[in-house]
């Protein structure tokens, strides 16, 4: 393992170090085919149905941010992992690890948020757990969730389905969540119109699968590590390359300016209400239309295509029509002054 013998913050960043941690310690220990597929939800056969099962943990700081809070994030994030796997979410669990001393009002607000998010999507939170740890043993509040759903019969998603010529759609602007969180961070505070895109993508995912079935080859929500991480995961697991076009990628100018201010590459920044969809070329326009007709997909855009490639690479055509490679992000983006 790189970077010494201790866990670094970057190991949790969804980038290269996370990937290494999973491949070198976690996968070998639990060794099974389902886990090794590294999908957003695990698929387990149950009679004639496929159950999708996912889990996630939320440690976001600050707890409250423009556009949401950790409660809403936890519910939407878990629903999203099920939705992008082609499942109809059925139920969630929600467990709390609370730091001694957290104000009850804060907890109530977050729980209320989680409840509201679940209600919006009509998905019950059916079980959970509560633990309290001593002051300074956890940072105010951590949330762990799990979710189950039933795979839609028309969903035929998987890395192996991706083929040269397929198109890539992103369902809206990138970087909103990550930059919103950054703007609250100690030492980086600035006020802004930035707003997290924290939202459920269940509607978009269900609609595109319902309408287009196996023409939808693959879906993933580009959370930590951003669009760059998701596209690299795709090329690493399928036998293709990807080409995207910088000018096609939807970005909110305020978000871009904030990223520029801190020296970040917007492609590496987290999203919490977007989907990357890989769709067959003949159904791309239709898929785009469906996305744009959904609440969270108004700014959906076609950003690139899957290409023939000897190496698993993501290549970007820049705004001046140059070319560069988009690497898997490190996992901890540090603000720069230089």
């Amino acid at each position: 393992m790189a970077a010494g013998d201790k866990i670094l913050l970057a190991h949790g960043g969804g980038g290269r170090l996370s990937d290494e941690l999973i491949r070198s310690i976690i996968l070998p220990a639990f060794k099974n085919d389902t886990l090794c597929r590294l999908t957003d939800s695990a698929e387990i056969q149950f009679g004639k149905d496929s159950i999708c099962f996912t889990t996630d943990s939320y440690v976001v700081k600050p707890l409250f941010f423009n556009g949401g809070d950790i409660g809403r994030l936890a519910v939407c994030g878990t629903i999203n992992d099920l939705a992008v796997s082609g499942a109809e979410p059925l139920a969630l669990s929600l467990s709390l690890i609370i730091e001694e001393g957290l104000e009850l009002e804060v907890l109530k607000k977050i729980i209320g948020s989680a409840a509201a998010a679940a209600k919006e999507e009509n998905i019950p939170i059916v079980c959970g757990d509560t633990k309290v740890v001593e002051a300074n043993s956890a940072d105010k509040l951590f949330i762990n969730t799990s979710g189950i759903g039933i795979k839609m019969p028309r969903a035929k998603l998987g890395f192996e389905r991706i083929a040269v010529g397929d198109k890539i759609i992103i369902t809206g602007t990138i970087g909103d969540h990550g930059m919103t969180i950054m703007s609250h961070r100690e030492g980086m505070k600035f006020e802004s119109n930035l707003k997290s895109d924290c939202a459920s993508v269940a509607e978009i995912c269900a609609k595109v699968i319902e309408a287009l079935g196996d023409d939808i080859k693959f879906m993933r929500d580009p959370t930590r590590g951003g669009l760059a991480a998701t596209l690299n995961e795709i090329v690493n697991q399928s036998n293709c390359g990807i080409e995207i076009h910088e000018s096609s990628i939807p970005v909110n100018p305020t978000v871009k300016a904030a990223a520029d201010m801190l020296g970040f590459d917007i492609l590496d920044i987290a999203n919490e209400g977007k989907v990357v969809i890989v769709v067959s070329p003949k159904k791309t326009e239709k898929c785009l239309e469906i996305c744009q007709g959904c609440k969270t997909g108004k700014e959906a855009a076609i950003i690139g295509q899957v290409v023939q490639s000897d190496e698993p690479l993501v290549e970007l055509e820049t705004i001046i029509k140059g070319r560069r490679i988009v690497q898997m992000p490190y996992g901890r983006e540090l603000p720069r002054i230089c």
Binding site: L9, I320, R324, Q327, P335, R336, C338
Partner: protein, 364 residues
């Protein structure tokens, strides 16, 4: 846009003809290196143009002795380290600040002002400010030093390693085997020092010095202008970043730098000792000077076997030519700072052009 690129092509061809070989332009500024790579500019230029990445990355040229000294202070319980994010992953001989962040005494700051706030919020701690950067960043440190002085702050210590760009450019041109035909000069350093600061370089060495902004078409225009000068054999200083850069620069900033710092000799990773190239706090600020107050011991720089950062910084080598590039030396396991800093030549090459161990297209 197309005419712009065509113009550049024409001038590159002219310059190539006059020189009788490839045109070598050194981009001194690390932020230019990143802009060039992000825009995929190298892939739009013909074979006849080579862009060399110069020592304009403050993180890359920070000598190992400095980093080791910061790391040893990070181990002390009475110290809080205030640093710009750029320095977190720079490797010393015993790891980097990133590996020490679990202690909670390393604070990433975006502004020198934050350091003052930290000092006031933590009166029982000694706050060490890792003051790196070129002339763009030095004035902020100068303001901090003056404010701390005025307010009688006792627990703030500035560890200055601010470097000056023009001495480095001249040192490079004094090397016998340099390949530099011209400089693409840093946009924001020039805001402070003024474009006239490059006149001595032109007068002594007859190399074009063109200041550019950071947008791709500004860089393309600057390359056009450089090649035109080379083709016409008329090297001069030109600023194409007129929105921000004047001939004289920011006089207020220059004044505060002169009042706060002395210019001394300094050690640059890869370039060795360069005379009159580093800013150290004046005597008046001794009580704020980390080197004088915190028992810092500079341990001479260890030779990193196989690391070619020095040659890369001087434009004598491309990153892929280094034996350690993409093998032992990667962004996860950086050997030299050129791989750590996001604007280090090696990191930029790795990120933007590497194809699984082989390097593609960007070899210009």
């Amino acid at each position: 846009m197309l005419e712009r690129i065509n113009r550049a092509y024409t001038q590159i061809a002219r310059a190539q003809k006059v020189l009788g070989r490839t045109v070598n332009i050194m981009e001194v500024c690390g932020t230019h290196t990143v802009s060039i790579f992000r825009a995929g500019l190298r892939t739009t230029f013909p074979e006849g143009l080579k862009l060399l990445s110069g020592p304009g990355c403050p993180v890359c040229i920070t000598d190992q002795g400095y980093i080791d000294a910061v790391l040893s202070l990070a181990d002390r319980d009475d110290c809080l380290i205030a640093t710009y994010g750029d320095m977190i992953r720079v490797p010393g001989r015993k790891g980097s600040l990133e590996q020490k962040t679990n202690k909670g005494n390393i604070k990433i700051i975006l502004s020198a002002e934050d350091v003052l706030k930290l000092a006031k919020q933590n009166p029982a701690k000694k706050i060490l400010f890792v003051a790196v950067g070129f002339e763009t960043t030095a004035p902020a440190t100068a303001v901090l030093a003056n404010e701390a002085f005025r307010q009688g702050v006792k627990n703030l210590f500035i560890f200055s390693n601010h470097k000056l760009v023009v001495p480095a450019m001249e040192a490079l041109l004094s090397e016998k085997n340099h390949r530099i035909d011209a400089f693409l000069c840093p946009g924001h350093v020039s805001v402070i020092i003024g474009s006239d600061a490059y006149k001595p370089v032109v007068e002594r060495f007859e190399k074009p010095c063109v200041v550019a902004g950071f947008e791709p078409m500004q860089i393309i225009d600057a390359i056009s202008e450089i090649c035109r000068q080379l083709a016409d054999r008329k090297p001069e200083v030109a600023s194409l970043y007129r929105a921000a850069v004047t001939a004289a620069g920011n006089k207020t900033a220059q004044k505060i730098i002169n009042e706060t710092f002395d210019v001394s000799n300094g050690w640059w990773r890869g370039l060795g000792k360069i005379k009159k190239s580093t800013l150290k706090l004046k005597k008046k600020f001794s009580h704020l000077d980390a080197e004088k107050q915190l028992g810092i011991e500079f341990i001479p720089e260890e030779d990193l076997t196989g690391c070619c950062c020095g040659e890369v910084l001087c434009g004598l080598m491309d990153p892929p030519d280094c034996g350690l590039f993409a093998t032992n030396c990667t962004p996860e396991t950086p050997v030299g700072p050129c791989m750590v800093s996001s604007e280090g030549a090696c990191a930029a090459w790795f990120k933007y052009t590497l194809k699984k161990g082989k390097v593609d297209g960007g070899r210009r």
